[in-house]
């Protein structure tokens, strides 16, 4: 349980959370924003695993893609709510 919370927090405060949010804020398209976020999550896990799929923990991959996806969606919501363009 703690392990899970720790992984989620780690992801929010690193690339998936922050770059995901930033990328999400570049578009008004919710789907695109979520996909970009999820890609960041995927990329980060892969980078940390040294580009070796056999080193990738399934749970970690799912969490970081999930966090990226949510961050992207949140970024998109901020864009829609906070801008006129």
């Amino acid at each position: 349980m703690l392990n899970l919370l720790g992984t989620i927090a780690g992801n929010i405060l690193s690339l998936p959370g922050i770059l995901g949010l930033a990328l999400g804020m570049t578009t008004r398209n919710l789907l695109l924003a979520s996909i970009m976020g999820a890609i960041v999550g995927f990329a980060e896990t892969l980078i940390f695993a040294g580009f070796d799929m056999s080193n990738v923990e399934m749970l970690e991959l799912v969490i970081s893609m999930g966090v990226g996806l949510l961050a992207g969606a949140l970024g998109c919501a901020i864009r829609i709510k906070g801008t006129t363009v």
């Binding site: 703690l2 392990n3 919370l5 720790g6 992984t7 927090a9 780690g10 992801n11 405060l13 690193s14 980060e44 940390f48 799929m53 056999s54 399934m58 709510k81 906070g82 801008t83 006129t84």
Partner: protein, 238 residues
């Protein structure tokens, strides 16, 4: 907005203000302010995180006194060169996301300090095996990543190591072993039955990781082919 009975509540007004486009600030002004605030926030965040990595902070809690005493008698505290490893060097990863994770998980330490789970010598010894085993699990899983921040087989001069050490380290390289496989108790006293417990931890991890090769094999036809070849050879060899 008029001050009539339809005036929205305090938080509602803040919320609305927050999202209203500004007419007085230029985009550049907002960006620069945001940039500066970002630097200040991140710097402050990082700084306070590093504060929790100091020896004083780690041993500020009563419950860590036992470990502190033991560690003070080891080479990582006091040695001829004066280069040291402190608690966080061995127990907190350097990589950002692993570090955040470790810090979040350490919240349980605060809880147990408050609850007094290990606040006497006896209680500590009761829990030591379990705590040590959690540490071993992490180190085994990460291939002793924290030790390797300072030590590295590649730069060890085996000719000036003791023969026993050099021989064992060659064996470790050949068999893909990791530091903690042999160096348990490098900084603290070991509880009774530690070897059995360590073996259990390693076996458990091996069990968890067993399905992995199959998963990757299904993604890569070449591995499947060589895997099959191997297993047919094995059966025909029998």
């Amino acid at each position: 907005m008029t001050d009539n009975n339809s005036r929205p509540g305090f938080f509602r007004r803040i919320w609305n203000w927050f999202w209203t486009p500004t007419a007085v600030l230029s985009a550049g002004f907002v960006l620069i302010i945001g940039f500066l605030a970002g630097i200040l926030f991140w710097g402050g965040f990082h700084w306070s995180m590093e504060m929790t990595n100091t020896e004083e902070f780690c041993t500020g809690c009563h419950t860590m006194e036992t470990n502190l005493g033991e560690y003070r008698e080891t080479v990582h505290y006091n040695n001829h060169s004066g280069v040291r490893a402190i608690c966080s060097d061995c127990h907190v990863p350097k990589e950002w996301n692993h570090k955040v994770k470790a810090k979040v998980m350490a919240v349980k330490d605060v809880y147990h300090e408050l609850m007094g789970t290990i606040d006497t010598k006896e209680k500590y010894e009761d829990h030591r095996l379990k705590m040590a085993s959690q540490t071993w699990k992490k180190m085994k899983q990460s291939d002793s990543r924290e030790c390797r921040n300072c030590h590295n087989f590649e730069y060890m001069d085996f000719t000036i190591q003791e023969t026993r050490a050099a021989k064992e380290h060659q064996r470790a390289i050949d068999n893909n072993m990791t530091c903690i496989d042999c160096h348990q108790g490098i900084a603290h006293r070991l509880p009774e039955g530690y070897l059995d417990e360590y073996k259990r931890v390693v076996d458990e991890l091996a069990m968890e990781e067993a399905p992995k090769p199959l998963e990757t094999a299904s993604a890569d036809t070449d591995t499947v082919r060589s895997y099959l070849k191997q297993s047919t050879q094995k059966t025909s060899g029998d």
